[in-house]
């Protein structure tokens, strides 16, 4: 049973948050992970998410929004079910990162930070994701895909479209 009445989160996530705040010497330390987990569940950091997290951590909503606006993985608008994040930083760029990004744009018919009409995919050009030696690389949600070619990208997108893609949470 969550400590918060009428939590907007599933019982599992609510229980996780209850535990998370006990791990740190200071409750507020749970803020960044909580925002990320909340986003994983809701799809984005909605106003309701901000309200509940502020209540859980005894913070003002303003404090939460101040932190929220800092981190590039946190978003305040829904993304697609599968958020495709293509790295174009130096190591990926040298091995075709921009070709992969252009291919995704063409294939999905959307641009940077846009969502497909069926809300299945969204696309983002991202900074280095720590897969430089296996470049070019991208992430679909949290799942890494590396040594990409346009053919491989097509297969990956098809796998997700068919609902068979891995979805690390």
């Amino acid at each position: 049973m969550s400590e918060i009445a009428n939590s907007i989160f599933t019982p599992e996530t609510a229980a996780r948050f209850d535990r998370l705040v006990t791990l740190y010497p200071v409750k507020r330390s749970a803020l960044v992970p909580m925002l990320l987990y909340a986003q994983d569940e809701v799809g984005y950091v909605s106003d309701a998410v901000v309200t509940e997290i502020a209540e859980r951590l005894d913070l003002m909503e303003l404090d939460v929004r101040n932190v929220l606006s800092y981190y590039s993985m946190l978003r305040t608008k829904p993304a697609g079910k599968y958020n495709v994040q293509v790295c174009t930083n130096i190591s990926c760029m040298l091995r075709g990162g921009y070709e992969i990004l252009d291919h995704c744009k063409h294939k999905l018919g959307i641009g940077h930070k846009e969502v497909t009409a069926d809300k299945l995919f969204s696309l983002e050009e991202v900074e280095c994701i720590g897969a430089c030696c296996w470049a070019p690389a991208m992430q679909v949600n949290y799942d890494f895909h590396d040594n990409l070619t346009t053919v491989k990208v097509d297969e990956i997108l098809e796998t997700y479209r068919a609902g068979k893609g891995k979805d690390v949470k």
Partner: protein
């Protein structure tokens, strides 16, 4: 999934358990796991710190500060609790070495955290991974849970009467948080902006308590050092640069990958022998030797040993060990723009020279790249970069300025030729147009 690579010149210390299933605690125990921490308990804090000092291990995050000395700076007596903080926020472009450590040897990170805790008298450690590394967080979480289940973490570890707890978490996307004081801010649930130093973390760190903060590779090296002895570890490396290091070689090489080489290993050999040379038989144009913030080296400058001192002498840095190799097809104008675009995106905005400097360099280089540059732009970029150096709270300002200076100084002619070559028929793009476009 990252592929493991191998080369005969490698000396496998930190990577000795890679590919052997050591994420499983039973396998880790089979491979001498958790022996170093028991030795550390038996021998005591002074022995740990002396062994670390003797090892010559220097911070693998990039600054190269001697680890044993860092640990010895933490005051023995403290009213506030002390903490160990593991920096796994690996975000420097070109760097993916901690990625493979978390993947293949998570218990080494845990054991190293415990050893650092024993050395400074801390009861709690935090392992902070970058937000993108969710699957690695899950590996770390399982490893920590397994260590608790075995009684290795928690109350009275290994019958020592000492307690030690570990919390793992990720960030949510911010290069700046890799800076130690910004990481502490983030861990305290705030925006990741840097703190002014002094006081240094060893005195006033996380939650105001004395804190040791080390890169994940540094921490994961500690158990190996305690088992093999400080002197033995030091001997593998070069003078004042003990041991081995994970070098991630990426870009235009035949066999990119993370290789463990002795400190002081020749950079040219690393590129041509270890990583198989330039892809497709092309010619080498330049090397960014230690992550994107390190000044670029020309082909004639790469006959140099990969350690902190020799790289410093060569006018660049060893940095994070991420070696990015550029062949003759690369446009340095484009590469310099991509590099500064990253720093402009990641500047936290706290210090004006960095916030404004990265922004104006990006705008100017965008104009050059778009074909609307004037000769004065190159001098302007250099002027901006020079005035960022040393004028910010954290090293991000320098990290953005240094590679920029390297590019415009060493490839000045290429910038000028580019500007000249694109003049005919191309309209000058005003900054206002650029701001609108980006």
């Amino acid at each position: 999934m990252p592929t493991l690579v191998s080369h005969p010149d490698e000396v496998k210390v930190i990577s000795s358990r890679f590919g052997q299933g050591a994420a499983d605690i039973e396998k880790y125990l089979e491979l001498d796991g958790y022996k170093a921490v028991q030795k550390a308990i038996a021998e005591g804090p002074d022995w740990i710190i002396n062994t670390m000092k003797a090892s010559g291990l220097r911070g693998r995050g990039g600054a190269g500060f001697p680890t044993g000395m860092k640990w010895s700076f933490v005051p023995k007596q403290s009213e506030k609790p002390k903490y160990v903080l593991v920096n796994g926020d690996e975000s420097e472009p070109g760097t993916c070495k901690d990625h493979v450590i978390f993947l293949h040897d998570p218990h080494a990170v845990i054991e190293g955290t415990m050893i650092a805790g024993l050395a400074i008298g801390a009861k709690m450690g935090f392992i902070y991974l970058r937000g993108e590394y969710r699957y690695l967080l899950k590996i770390m979480e399982k490893a920590v849970a397994d260590a608790y289940a075995k009684g290795f973490l928690g109350k009275n570890i290994f019958g020592s009467g000492l307690d030690f707890d570990i919390v793992t978490q990720t960030g949510a996307g911010a290069y700046e948080v890799g800076e130690e004081s910004a990481l502490m801010e983030s861990l305290e649930g705030k925006r990741g902006v840097p703190r002014i130093k002094p006081p240094f973390p060893a005195v006033v760190g996380l939650y105001g308590g004395p804190t040791v903060i080390n890169n994940a590779e540094t921490i994961a090296s500690a158990p190996h050092i305690l088992l093999m002895g400080g002197e033995a570890y030091a001997k593998i490396g070069s003078e004042r640069n003990g041991g081995t290091r994970l070098f991630g070689i990426s870009g235009h090489v035949e066999r990119p990958g993370v290789y463990e080489l002795p400190m002081g290993y020749n950079l040219k050999k690393a590129i041509y022998d270890v990583a198989g040379g330039i892809r497709g038989g092309k010619k080498l144009k330049a090397v960014v030797p230690g992550g994107s913030s390190c000044p670029v080296l020309l082909p004639e400058e790469i006959d140099v040993g990969l350690d902190f001192d020799q790289m410093g002498k060569a006018g660049t840095m060893l940095g994070s060990g991420g070696i990015v190799v550029l062949d003759e097809t690369v446009s340095i104008v484009e590469f310099a723009l991509r590099t500064i675009a990253f720093y402009q995106h990641e500047s936290c905005g706290w210090c004006i020279p960095c916030r404004e400097g990265t922004d104006w360099i990006k705008k100017t280089l965008t104009r050059v790249y778009s074909g609307g540059g004037s000769k004065k732009d190159v001098a302007n970029v250099q002027y901006l970069a020079e005035n960022m150096m040393g004028r910010t709270f954290c090293p991000l300002g320098d990290a953005a300025a240094m590679p920029t200076l390297g590019f415009v100084k060493k490839f000045r002619k290429e910038f000028e030729d580019y500007i000249e070559g694109h003049k005919a028929g191309t309209p000058i793009i005003t900054v206002e147009q650029l701001v609108g476009a980006h």
